[in-house]
Symmetry: C2
Subunit: 429 residues, 2 copies
């Protein structure tokens, strides 16, 4: 196909008519497709149904150390669950705390605690005139919502194919002591599916922030969420790297089993240095008597160990892989060579990122919606919902069935074409 920008006005107008007819045809189908969130599909949930059978009234709900999981207590999680999640998070069991069902909740609580009580003895952020966070963009909307909710100023840092622009990150944290954190999804990032390069991680570990309470918020949400067996991205483990670099306290690492077992009822965890964990435990013991240990035990009994968990993730991959490939194939087939957008081809995670021509994303998403396809809102991948180029659209292939997904992507590509033509025509006028 010829790039649209190389086509004449007449050619574009002619093409526009054809595409409009196709769009009307789509509208006639009365579709109800949802690609807005990174929700696992029913098929994926089914592979974890064995979770419901591993604990019965005939089973002993006691840990190896004698802890009765049914009763109160054990603030930081049962030993077995710490081992399992430590293996998943590539840290020592002593360096993690197990929480409830949501790592987002852990991140929220971490920011909230810093607001009211500071970080390892620093001034509570609510007492400061200004608190800022660095936000690699495009990024995860729920991260940005937390910092926005607490009135924390967010500074965009562009993503590159190897991670955030580290020149900028280094420069900013070394210059401004009101910068207290940076949101990272370092592996199969949301939404681009980028994994930070070795150099990026090393530079993170060697940051020299002026703020002693600066922390890297390392949300390793997709740590074992590969699509392929052999082609897997590898990420340098950040806690160990920070320790080697002499910055052991500079990072909080988050993860959960939300996209391993059940999204509604997984277990979440934080990993950090001993100093940080001591600081966190001071607060945690006030907040709760303990998180749900029965659910921790359920996870341990179901997965057995990290090998069991990795094997389980292959089942997820078998369901996700064709969906990712269908998205990429459709984009290649429908938009390849048209020069109206670019997209990523991740090897894991939950998202594909699409960048349209500048100024087109909102219109594309709106056009999809009018034909029954809900995409993540354009702008959602930027702080305050403001994409300065109005170009980024997050594609979440997991939830629809494969036939629905193919249909959805055809519709999406069609909307991209129409909106791009309109855009090019308006530039010609």
């Amino acid at each position: 196909m010829k790039p649209y920008v190389e086509m004449t006005k007449e050619e574009l107008q002619e093409l526009r008519k054809e595409l409009s007819a196709q769009y009307k045809e789509f509208q006639g189908r009365d579709l109800k497709l949802d690609m807005s969130r990174g929700k696992p599909s029913a098929e994926q949930l089914d592979i974890s149904m064995g979770m419901m059978d591993v604990l019965s009234s005939n089973d002993d709900l006691t840990c190896d150390d004698g802890t009765d999981c049914r009763n109160y207590g054990v603030l930081d999680g049962i030993k077995e669950a710490k081992e399992l999640l430590a293996d998943m998070m590539e840290v020592a069991p002593d360096h993690i705390i197990i929480y409830g069902n949501s790592s987002l909740n852990v991140m929220y609580d971490t920011v909230s605690r810093s607001m009211t009580h500071g970080v390892m003895g620093s001034t509570p952020w609510c007492k400061l005139d200004k608190v800022k966070f660095l936000c690699p963009v495009p990024g995860y909307d729920r991260h940005f919502s937390i910092t926005e909710y607490f009135g924390i100023e967010m500074i965009n840092v562009p993503m590159t194919p190897t991670g955030p622009d580290m020149d900028l990150v280094e420069q900013l944290v070394a210059a401004d002591d009101s910068i207290k954190g940076i949101w990272c999804v370092p592996k199969y990032s949301n939404p681009q599916g980028i994994s930070y390069s070795d150099e990026t991680v090393r530079r993170f570990a060697r940051l020299k922030p002026v703020a002693s309470d600066f922390r890297i918020y390392w949300d390793n949400a997709y740590t074992i969420h590969h699509l392929y067996d052999n082609e897997q991205d590898h990420l340098i483990e950040i806690l160990a790297e920070c320790k080697r670099a002499g910055n052991p306290d500079m990072v909080y690492k988050f993860a959960s089993t939300s996209k391993v077992s059940f999204p509604g009822s997984g277990i979440a965890a934080i990993a950090a240095s001993e100093n940080n964990l001591t600081d966190i435990m001071k607060q945690l013991k006030i907040q709760t008597i303990g998180h749900d240990k029965v659910n921790q035990l359920r996870h341990v009994r179901f997965f057995g160990d990290i090998h069991g968990m990795v094997e389980h993730m292959r089942k997820h991959a078998d369901i996700m892989r064709p969906k990712f490939e269908a998205v990429i194939e459709t984009l290649e087939k429908e938009l390849g060579g048209l020069e109206v957008g670019e997209w990523t081809c991740p090897k894991g995670g939950y998202f594909i990122s699409f960048d349209s021509l500048d100024g087109c994303a909102k219109t594309i998403v709106a056009k999809c919606k009018k034909a029954g396809l809900v995409m993540t809102g354009a702008g959602a991948t930027y702080p305050y919902g403001k994409d300065p180029h109005d170009s980024n659209i997050r594609i979440a292939p997991s939830y629809p069935t494969l036939p629905d997904l193919k249909q959805a992507m055809e519709l999406f590509a069609l909307c991209v074409k129409i909106v791009s033509i309109d855009h090019i025509l308006s530039e010609m006028a």
Copy 2:
């Protein structure tokens, strides 16, 4: 028995010798008894083991409205769980939000949110010079820990047999706009087992606080935790009473199934007015995608409805009743007429409150410990751990077996006798 104070020095000294010998004998038994916390016993946990069987891989984990409990979403709880907990909390299902496994966590989060974001638009408490809470005493140590952690000044309000001293409460909240809350366990209170009288509840609902962001923290932890079928305390429902009194927004009501199903993995809830819930939801949607719906469904399938839950509580009562009665009997038998202490005789809840002679509580608890019996720390029932009379001791009969409990109470009574004699003798000197 003759009251100790009416005995001569010589009589007391003689008695002291006998009691010392008995104490030595106890020490020789090498006991390890724990009455420190309101923890259900293993026997109580066993009656909920059916919880582990109601959801299997053969079951459909879908709600009546089609919600798949395994996946993300439903911030305020599934409809069926809201109905069940609404019935337990005696409010409408529309007026509650279901949380995770810990009502303490809900209370913490409520105070934390008020610190960072205020209450329904009020100034965030962290921006105020002074924030104060009223604390009916004796009360629940974990409540006091939350307010202490946030630097909130705590003001003691004496408990009476009908609830907190309402004259004082009314006077304080009407005079001081830095008073933002009051901690209440209104039914079978911790530690006294007192239920607030109708008049007390009505006066609560009619409070005229100068602070518009003043809230009653109504922790109805023991709402269905009766010991007897016919002799049950009744509490006026506070949300409805506040509404009738023209103060619909003045109360947050908390509860959980921690002492109904499993302490480690129950479900918690808040009940409040629509205005308050809207305010809370603004924060909650930032904090999490949703709490554990599978566990909510598990509770619904296990209990069926409120009748099932009430029937279940009869099984708890059958285990708890003999323990409460054993404590009271031992206190009556060992200490009756000696005038060295007073105790409550609750009809529900988890605690019995004992008041020793002034200045004796710490020593009694220490003496128990030296013979292998751990009681709740003396002072724990007061803010900052400071009992001004050093007299209150919380007795938690639930955790030990009945034989252990009887032994523990004999030891406790013995320690009370010894310490009281020492105290009286020192006063004579």
